[in-house]
């Protein structure tokens, strides 16, 4: 792919803190390389702001290799920008052209309040995990291979569900701000394996109850979450969670 430089107009959401009113601010960046990542372009902009004595734009980032799920940016109307199965850090500037205007906003959801600029508080996800997304007993050292047979299909589906990085793009993209894809991935990865079986029922009931408490919206099966998920988590997980929830709800004594 041919390398090129570009000049861009950025419109970025600036908000001092959780209580302050925010607004879109315009910035110009020059000579951005098409080989930069979107976050590197933001680094250039922030250095510009620091040199000018302005407050740099606050944004979440950590691994910058597409696996930590931190870089939450809503770019030109889409979670993590125009590419599919992609995080913001892995979005490269070749997705844009010279002279483009790019609008960058934080995730929008009642459950994800803005902390500053583009940083949102995603601890609602942590509380959903704390409600049941774990195995209570220590499973010990790695056991001998094949001493605990697991169907290849279940192992694969569990692994695919476990590839969820908890970035929140599903919530950001959903018309209802529903967290069903995230919660269902976390329910599925354990429900499919024998280690997760003993707490299977209480897990799904508690995690869904916590999800509802966090004021996420309800799922209406638009499947926007699957389309925007950087890891391609399937909505089949949502169906699995619905099954788990239904059967756990029917057999629970409470």
């Amino acid at each position: 792919m041919e390398h090129y430089n570009m000049n861009l107009t950025l419109k970025v959401w600036r908000q001092k803190n959780n209580q302050a009113a925010g607004t879109l601010e315009s910035y110009q960046v020059k000579d951005i390389s098409s080989e930069m990542s979107f976050l590197e372009m933001f680094d250039v902009l922030n250095e510009q702001l620091i040199v000018a004595g302005d407050d740099p734009i606050a944004f979440d980032h950590d691994c910058r290799e597409g696996i930590c799920g931190q870089c939450s940016m809503h770019i030109n109307g889409r979670a993590h920008g125009p590419w599919t199965k992609n995080t913001t850090c892995q979005l490269h500037m070749r997705a844009f052209n010279d002279g483009d205007t790019i609008v960058v906003e934080p995730w929008r959801s009642k459950a994800f309040p803005v902390i500053k600029d583009l940083i949102v508080d995603r601890s609602a996800f942590d509380r959903v995990i704390q409600a049941g997304g774990f195995i209570s007993v220590n499973t010990g050292n790695a056991i001998d291979a094949n001493s605990l047979p697991i169907d290849k299909k279940d192992a694969d589906n569990s692994f695919m569900a476990a590839s969820c990085i908890g970035c929140g793009a599903c919530v950001a993209a959903c018309v209802n701000s529903s967290a069903m894809l995230f919660v269902s991935a976390k329910v599925s990865q354990l429900a499919l394996l024998p280690q997760g079986a003993p707490e299977r029922e209480s897990r799904v009931l508690n995690m869904v109850a916590q999800m509802d408490k966090e004021s996420f919206g309800n799922c209406s099966n638009t499947y926007a979450c699957e389309a925007e998920c950087p890891k391609g988590i399937s909505v089949a997980n949502i169906a699995r969670m619905n099954r788990e929830y239904l059967s756990a709800g029917l057999s629970s004594e409470a």
């Binding site: 959401w13 879109l24 809503h74 030109n76 109307g77 889409r78 125009p82 609008v103 906003e105 929008r108 959801s109 009642k110 459950a111 993209a173 018309v175 209802n176 701000s177 529903s178 004021s215 996420f216 919206g217 309800n218 209406s220 099966n221 638009t222 499947y223 926007a224 389309a227 925007e228 909505v235 089949a236 949502i238 169906a239 699995r240 969670m241 619905n242 099954r243 788990e244 239904l246």
Partner: protein, 221 residues
């Protein structure tokens, strides 16, 4: 939402099936016969109450979801491209449902109210001996009522077509969505469910739309 929706989907099959008998071109004879059979059957009358209860539940559930979902994102995106990740009708079920409800009020006023509370002309069947069930009995001439409503009334025909079109979009999402809600998402069966859902929505709504059009244009008698 899924459970009540599936019940309404089954009701539409019966409704559309019986109404399609007007296409037999026998002055509504077969249609009126079946209409009478449904209207005079105690089981069907009981299910009708269930139908209204389920319809009401479907609406109430929809309103609760709409309220919860619209409050889940108090600050909207300034730039948003939902068309990149989902179908417009899957995001517009509340709007489509409201349009269907408005249409339904008119529809019930046209047919259900007069058939329940009088106002529809009665006829003797053309061939009473062949249809033993209403032998020598006068039955509602629902077919005549259809002609009265649709003939020479372009506006009503257009409103019906719009109502049925809304229903079609609503079903295109609703049919497959109900199965996902019940946890049925399967590599083998989901493509089949989706195909059946598309076929069902289009066939049912085409047939429904064809009825007022055919009567208005005097294609059937």
């Amino acid at each position: 939402m899924g459970l009540t929706g599936l019940f309404l989907i089954i009701f539409l099959i019966v409704h559309c099936g019986i109404n399609s008998m007007i296409f037999f071109n026998d002055y509504g004879e077969t249609f009126n016969h079946w209409g009478h059979l449904m209207g005079s059957n105690l089981i069907i009358r009981t299910v009708e109450i269930g139908l209204f209860v389920f319809l009401l539940l479907h609406i109430v559930q929809g309103l609760i979801l709409w309220k919860q979902n619209s409050s889940a994102r108090p600050v909207k995106y300034i730039v948003n491209k939902p068309q990149a990740n989902s179908k417009w009708y899957s995001r517009s079920m509340g709007l489509l449902g409201t349009l269907i409800l408005i249409f339904l009020v008119l529809h019930l006023y046209h047919f259900w109210t007069p058939s329940r509370f009088g106002g529809i002309a009665d006829i003797r069947p053309l061939e009473p001996t062949t249809l033993a069930d209403y032998n020598n009995q006068e039955v509602h001439n629902l077919y005549k009522e259809m002609q009265l409503v649709f003939q020479n009334n372009l506006l009503v025909v257009v409103v019906y077509i719009l109502g049925v079109t809304s229903l079609c979009w609503h079903l295109l999402h609703g049919f497959q969505s109900a199965f996902q809600t019940f946890g049925l998402n399967h590599k083998k069966y989901t493509p089949l469910i989706k195909a059946v859902g598309v076929g069902y929505s289009i066939i049912i709504c085409l047939l429904f739309a064809l009825m007022p059009v055919a009567i208005y244009l005097n294609w059937i008698y």
